[in-house]
């Protein structure tokens, strides 16, 4: 009789031990999974960050091409103005200059 009861007892302990191992193992598995999740989530957030940076970059590209276009236009206008001023001041003195040249050509120092 005693030995039978003893067997029962030992059986219960063994079962408990097994269950305990199972519990610890599950916790360990969860831990591994959690670390994997860490990697996945980090990657996901990193690529979100990247696409955000890409958008900002594209935006700045558009802005800069716009401003450089207007710079070029401004430069061209300034150049046109300079050239026009040139032509105007030239036509003002042109006759003077031509007369001066002719005078010197015909002024022969002997």
């Amino acid at each position: 009789m005693d030995s039978f009861k003893g067997q029962e007892g030992i059986q219960m302990l063994l079962t408990a031990e097994q269950e305990a191992q199972h519990i610890v193992l599950s916790a360990r598995n969860l831990r591994t999974q959690r670390l994997k999740q860490a990697k996945e989530e980090a990657e996901r957030e990193a690529s979100q960050y990247k696409s955000h940076m890409e958008d900002e970059y594209q935006k700045s590209l558009l802005e800069s091409s716009g401003s450089s276009g207007s710079n070029v236009k401004r430069l061209d206008e300034e150049t046109e103005d300079k050239i026009n001023n040139l032509k105007q001041s030239a036509s003002k003195v042109s006759n003077e200059v031509v007369d001066m040249l002719l005078k010197h050509v015909t002024n022969i120092k002997v």
Partner: protein, 231 residues
């Protein structure tokens, strides 16, 4: 020990085993969370840093490209302005060139001009014998003033009358006509003298005079025109 004591003890032991297991599982779970956070943060920060650097580099390249483009534009427009300056100045020379033709149309003026040109050429060459070449149309006038020119030279330099041989075969090219290509050879007037052996040549044509004069007056002209304009 009786049965109930034994089973009580066994129950206690079972509970204990379970308790320990739960506690252990808990520990694992808590440290797992900590590790999760640390790992995720580290990975994320490293990646973000890399990405940030990459985009900073890209932006810098864009900046540099912009600067280069702008500098190129600036150069191009500077060249445009310089070219315009050149054009303006040259067109003045062309205008003067055209006016030269008027000179030879006034007979008295041109006659005196030719004489003075010959005298000046003689003074420059200082040769006892010279060759003279002129336009075919001017031949007559040249022959008319030749003697007085030679005399004037001889008086000024206190030398003997020079021998002036007028070339009757080869003439200077004729005056340009309006429909002629401006690059064709032409002569607006004046003379070319040379030493007898042809080694020393003195071009005293109106065109040559204008060329020389224009070159020497160019800085002055440019200053007058573009003094205020930044080069």
């Amino acid at each position: 020990m009786n049965d109930s004591d034994v089973s009580k003890q066994i129950d206690q032991m079972v509970r204990f085993i379970h308790q320990e297991a739960e506690e252990k599982a808990n520990e694992i779970s808590v440290s797992a969370e900590e590790e999760f956070n640390i790992e995720k943060l580290q990975l994320l920060e490293a990646e973000k840093k890399k990405i940030k650097q990459e985009y900073e580099r890209k932006e810098k390249q864009v900046e540099i490209r912009k600067k280069i483009e702008y500098s190129m534009q600036l150069n191009a427009s500077r060249i445009k302005v310089l070219q315009a300056q050149d054009d303006v100045v040259n067109s003045m020379k062309d205008a003067a060139s055209k006016e030269l033709l008027v000179l030879s149309s006034n007979d008295t003026l041109y006659r005196n001009l030719l004489k003075d040109l010959i005298v000046q050429s003689l003074l420059r060459l200082k040769e006892p014998a010279v060759l003279l070449r002129c336009r075919e149309d001017d031949l007559h006038v040249v022959e008319e003033v030749l003697d007085s020119a030679a005399q004037e030279y001889a008086d000024k330099e206190n030398v003997y009358l020079p021998e002036i041989i007028v070339d009757n075969n080869v003439f200077l090219p004729p005056a340009p006509t309006s429909d002629q290509n401006v690059h064709d050879l032409h002569c607006s007037g004046g003379v070319v003298l040379a030493s007898r052996d042809g080694k020393i040549v003195f071009e005293n044509t109106l065109d040559a005079r204008l060329d020389v004069l224009f070159r020497s007056k160019l800085p002055e002209i440019r200053k007058q025109l573009f003094g205020q304009v930044a080069a």
